[in-house]
């Protein structure tokens, strides 16, 4: 979820009048995923629809060019072959003004072929796109202090690699290269935002809330210094009433009697680096004469990069007619979503004098400039009825440090606050987020997105509360876990069944939990100096952003050759594999051709203001009358959105193709012959249609191959290609379409384009005017009301983890002996990919709990000296590689949708480990990571 102020809002607010220019160039702006051979063999998908390996497996395992980082100009068709290279120099202090760069160390030979400073950009009118979101300046202006540690001061471009390489070696780590002047005033921006979610139920979970964000409003405010200035309580507008509700909860806490446990705790969660192994990089070739900017850039948000680059360059003196953005496979765990780095690549291209130039971070630079996980300070209060063991209220004050550029910090802070309830039903809750700025390296989107910090803290505290109440930790959770239909802390009812009770029942019976006391006694008796503990963590994580849009096209030719095109691209999760598997699952045929990361969709001439979070209902009602309007065009690859949201577009397109092509074509074939053919004696209905083992069948009808049906669909001139656009605001948009020869159809999409088969009459073919497709203006549309923006979230996937650890009381070392996890994610599309996500998420969570740590400021990554020698990542020995297990709840039925689970899997293990340490040594830690030093101090 990414609620509240977004890049879009900032753009609207600060660049009104310019915003229309964002949509000026998309028609000439394109991006696509480069996929080079080797492609998988034709047998990669087994007859049962089970993939034998990932779609990208062979290319990746043989060292083929897959990542953006693997490509040079010589590999890109139409580009000049000579590759230029660039690197940047960075400010490592913010207290003194930037004066100059001293390149005398380089001598004449190694001087850059082009040096670019802030003043060059000013002269050429090149400005930051989306000011505020990406800060105010690319490079530190002379005479000013840096906004943040690690901010670039200069770009050095070399026409050849050898000189680039030699120069970079000479300059790096040398603190005399960037010259500073006198002390100067801080230029770090002020705090970024504050939001508060207050809820008081109506006496029961089912009753209408007395107050909630969904029913009333999210409370937002500004700052005095670093303190949010919340509105006064009152009975006037919704925010005042919300503050009155918050005051009521505060009074209840203050006046709590002996019948309740009031537990107050403070937690901190550290800044961390995603350490995506492919560091940020890009390659840009700008042709001034033609005004074409060619780029290959590693990003999770290609549409945004193309759009923003167009916005940025079109305002400058550099002529721009079109942008041709290519993307490779990448990985970022969120940190390549809306990062600023791609725009530095564009800058390099603009100043490379017609040469393709490559800007690629080394690992030190990656630590210095890549988006970080937010450090959180959390003050929490739990109010629990001692008799019932149930929550009466929970409050939390969350402060996250966004560093020196805003990026998604406000969104991360608010998402963290709305997730703080974890899996528990709270009759009263008050969660606030204060999103602060600092001179630290900027933080942004990263796997977990604020919820890792807040939910992990809640789960640590729940464990302590159970102990204080004298209740079994599982029993306490059971009494409070959300049941289906109960509201979340924003007052929204989560989608579908909530199955926490099933997970708790399985965890409680698991030998790790059931036998923990006996094993603790036995282990400690046999291992003097070693302590043994088992801990549990249970969370659920939203997936999606509250404004999820996607496009997918499926089309077949008369031989049955199927092509899948999709906005999704590959960030390692296997999204491209699973989209192909989902299409094959519905159509019974694997795509013969795939095209991912597609940004240019001429068949979808949609218009968007791209303000899905902030548009008023009145304005949206007005705009949706235009059948070509949509709240948002497409989403980045992030927020665990691929299988459910991006997959929805695939599934809707495939189902539409079944409805509009497969079923009528099959019926036509079965009806051949006298008297209505083989179909006539049977009452065959649409719901009888089955596609099994690649054969199309219904009731007793002769099974048909996809190729036979495809040929018939073309002969009849039926729909043979479908492109859909989908939109979800915690609920799906739906629309009706009047299709020639078919009538009115309703799908869970908001835009549709179709292609007609070869046999279609000329007048129908004449409708295919949009890139060879017929864009069908919708006859009616339903968009989820804008008030659902306040729901915060409705889609959750739950995960619980049991961790078995030992603590060496001498060294303080925590060793993970084993762990077991229980996940609920609906139907799995590719179980191997799900299992891989679980294992990888657990490793990242283990790193967060025990190892990974970054100081925020002068000693931190902004100083350019950090690498994996100091920032310890979990290795195989840290993760119980041979002794970890996981189970997944069976889906409710074959129609239980697949749920986004790539983030939730890393969270539960964090509190599980902390709670296990408490079990082992009787000490509770409230600050992560738990290092051996902290253990030794606690035991001293």
């Amino acid at each position: 979820m990414k609620t509240g102020l977004t890049r879009r809002t900032v753009l609207q607010a600060t660049a009104a009048g310019v915003a229309i220019r964002i949509s000026l160039l998309p028609s000439a702006t394109r991006a696509e995923l480069i996929e080079t051979p080797p492609h998988p063999g034709a047998d990669w998908l087994g007859p049962g629809g089970k993939p034998k390996y990932r779609l990208d497996a062979i290319a990746k395992v043989t060292g083929g060019k897959t990542f953006t980082r693997d490509y040079r100009a010589r590999d890109l068709a139409g580009w000049p072959k000579q590759q230029a290279h660039a690197f940047m120099l960075h400010a490592t202090r913010v207290d003194r003004v930037f004066d100059s760069v001293d390149l005398s160390l380089l001598g004449e030979d190694l001087k850059p072929d082009r040096l670019v400073l802030h003043e060059d950009l000013v002269a050429d009118g090149v400005a930051i796109p989306a000011p505020g979101f990406y800060g105010d300046v690319f490079f530190v202006p002379k005479g000013q202090t840096a906004r943040l540690l690690g901010q670039p001061v200069a770009l050095l471009i070399y026409h050849d690699f050898a000189r680039y390489d030699a120069a970079k070696r000479k300059l790096r780590f040398n603190d005399r290269v960037v010259r500073y002047g006198a002390e100067g005033p801080s230029t770090t921006p002020g705090p970024y935002g504050a939001a508060r979610y207050v809820r008081i139920d109506g006496g029961s979970p089912e009753a209408e809330d007395r107050y909630s964000a969904l029913k009333d409003t999210t409370i937002r405010t500004g700052f005095k210094g670093e303190e949010p200035q919340w509105p006064a309580a009152g009975d006037g507008d919704a925010m005042a009433r919300g503050m009155a509700a918050a005051a009521e909860i505060e009074r209840e806490i203050a006046n709590a009697g002996d019948d309740v446990l009031v537990l107050r705790r403070s937690f901190t969660s550290q800044s961390a680096d995603a350490s995506a192994m492919e560091a940020d990089n890009g390659n840009v070739w700008y042709e001034r004469a033609t005004g074409i900017l060619h780029a290959l850039i590693a990003t999770q948000s290609p549409h945004e990069v193309a759009e923003m680059a167009a916005h940025m360059v079109s305002k400058s003196t550099f002529p721009l007619k079109s942008i041709d953005l290519k993307i490779g496979y990448t990985v970022g765990y969120g940190t390549k979503d809306h990062a600023i780095f791609p725009f530095y690549c564009v800058l390099a291209g603009l100043y490379a004098e017609g040469r393709p130039v490559r800007l690629a971070n080394d690992r030190y630079e990656q630590f210095q400039t890549a988006l970080k996980r937010h450090a959180f300070q959390m003050d929490k209060v739990m109010v629990i009825d001692r008799k019932t063991g149930q929550f009466r209220a929970m409050t939390g004050r969350y402060r996250n440090d966004g560093g020196g550029r805003e990026n998604f910090s406000v969104s991360v802070g608010t998402v963290g606050a709305t997730a703080a309830q974890s899996i528990y039903y709270l009759p009263k809750s008050d969660f606030s987020a204060a999103i602060l700025s600092s001179r630290a390296v900027d933080a942004g989107s990263m796997r977990g997105y604020g919820t890792l910090q807040t939910m992990a803290a809640t789960e640590m505290m729940v464990d302590e509360a159970a102990e204080a109440l004298g209740l079994d930790a599982m029993e306490f959770r059971r009494r409070n876990a959300l049941k289906s239909g109960m509201k979340n802390s924003q007052g929204a009812i989560p989608s579908g069944a909530l199955r926490h009770d099933e997970i708790l029942a399985r965890a409680e019976k698991h030998p790790l939990w059931a036998g923990r006391q006996e094993r603790k006694a036995a282990f400690e008796a046999a291992n003097p100096g070693q302590k043994y503990g088992v801990g549990y963590g249970h969370v659920h994580k939203d997936y999606g952003t509250g404004a999820e849009a996607a496009l997918c096209a499926l089309a077949f030719d008369s031989s049955g050759r199927l092509k899948l095109s999709h906005v999704a691209h590959e960030i390692g999760t296997g999204a491209t594999t699973s989209q192909a598997v989902m299409a094959a699952g519905i159509l019974g045929r694997q795509p013969d051709e795939t095209e991912f990361g597609k940004v240019r969709w001429p068949q979808m001439p949609l218009e968007t203001s791209d303000e899905p979070y902030t548009l008023s209902q009145e304005e949206e009602d007005r705009r949706m009358a235009n059948p070509r309007w949509t709240p948002s065009f497409t989403s980045p690859m992030s927020a665990s959105n691929s299988v459910y949201y991006l997959g929805h577009a695939t599934r809707e397109a495939a189902r539409a193709l079944v409805d509009l092509a497969i079923w009528p074509a099959a019926r036509s074939l079965w009806s051949r012959g006298i008297g209505g053919g083989q179909l006539a004696p049977e009452a065959v209905r649409r719901e009888d249609l089955r596609i099994v083992g690649g054969r199309i069948n219904a009731a007793a009808m002769q099974p048909l191959s996809f190729a036979e049906v495809a040929a018939e669909a073309h002969r009849l001139g039926l729909v043979t290609g479908v492109t859909v656009h989908s939109f979800n605001r915690w609920q799906w948009a739906e629309a009706e379409f009047e299709l020639p020869g078919t009538g009115r159809r309703r799908f869970a999409i908001d835009a549709l384009a179709v292609q007609y088969g070869e046999g279609a009459p000329a007048e129908r073919k004449a409708l295919m005017t949009e890139g060879g497709w017929h864009f069908v203006d919708r006859a009616s549309v339903f968009y989820p009301p804008t008030q659902r923006n306040n729901a915060g979230v409705t889609y959750y996937a739950p995960m619980a983890t049991l961790a078995e650890i030992t603590v060496d009381t001498g060294s303080g070392e925590v060793r993970l002996l084993s762990h077991h996890s229980i996940l609920e994610c609906g139907n799995q599309i590719v179980p191997e990919l799900v299992s891989g996500q679980i294992q990888g998420g657990l490793a990242m969570g283990i790193g967060h709990a025990l190892k990974e740590y970054l100081p925020l400021y002068e000693d931190g990554p902004g100083n350019g000296t950090w690498n994996w020698n100091r920032y310890e990542l979990p290795t195989s020995k840290d993760v119980a590689v041979w002794s970890q297990t996981a189970e997944i709840l069976p889906p409710l039925s074959e129609t239980d949708p697949p749920k986004g689970m790539a983030e939730v899997v890393m969270i539960a293990v964090v509190p599980a480990i902390v709670n296990a340490v408490a079990h082992a040594i009787g000490k509770r830690f409230h600050s992560l990571p738990i290092t051996p030093e902290k253990i030794r101090e606690a035991l001293a």
């Binding site: 043989t62 040079r72 990919l833 993760v879």
Partner: protein
């Protein structure tokens, strides 16, 4: 230009390379990328920690050694036989892959990797391990420990290592002669 260069000749993936003038201080990784367009051995840390950049050096006695290219100069490899990740699978005359190596096959069947950035290092490390086990088989009960010891230095950020390790164990167990009876 004052960048000192030297002539370098070596064998990479069974093909003679060079003589080429290469800067004396250039790392092997950069030589592979920028001079030979072999970008499979990946830059991860540049300081020898993550092992995403490793290649195989085939020694005179036929045994294999794993070398980090990010901290080893290109000239160290002069005259040596090197196998990069691009040289493991069998290819036809046009360079198209006709057969994966056993390690590569095991990794794809086990869905061992996700983003795949570290995969070349794991292919290299596991191939060297199998070569060592062929020369010095281990007892079955020691196998997991041997795999951990050999591959723990390889960092993977996506997978949690499990599917890599299980693939190697599976391959070792079904390859005759690697585990003592």
């Amino acid at each position: 230009m004052t960048i000192a260069t030297r002539t370098l000749s070596l064998t990479i993936n069974d093909e003679a390379v060079g003589p080429i003038d290469v800067p004396e201080t250039m790392m092997m990784q950069d030589f592979l990328y920028e001079y030979l367009n072999l970008t499979g051995s990946r830059m991860g840390c540049g300081q020898g920690i993550c092992h995403a950049c490793t290649v195989i050096v085939e020694k005179g006695d036929g045994s294999l050694e794993e070398m980090r290219t990010c901290i080893t100069g290109a000239h160290w490899f002069a005259g040596r036989k090197v196998r990069t990740v691009e040289g493991h699978a069998k290819r036809d005359a046009n360079g198209a892959i006709t057969q994966l190596s056993p390690v590569q096959q095991a990794f794809i069947e086990h869905f061992s990797f996700q983003c795949g950035y570290c995969t070349p290092g794991f292919v290299t490390g596991a191939t060297v391990l199998l070569d060592q086990l062929k020369r010095n088989p281990v007892r079955r009960e020691a196998l997991e420990g041997v795999i951990s010891e050999a591959l723990d230095r390889h960092i993977c950020r996506c997978t949690g290592y499990v599917r890599y390790f299980e693939a190697v164990r599976d391959l070792v167990l079904r390859t005759p002669g690697l585990v003592k009876a």
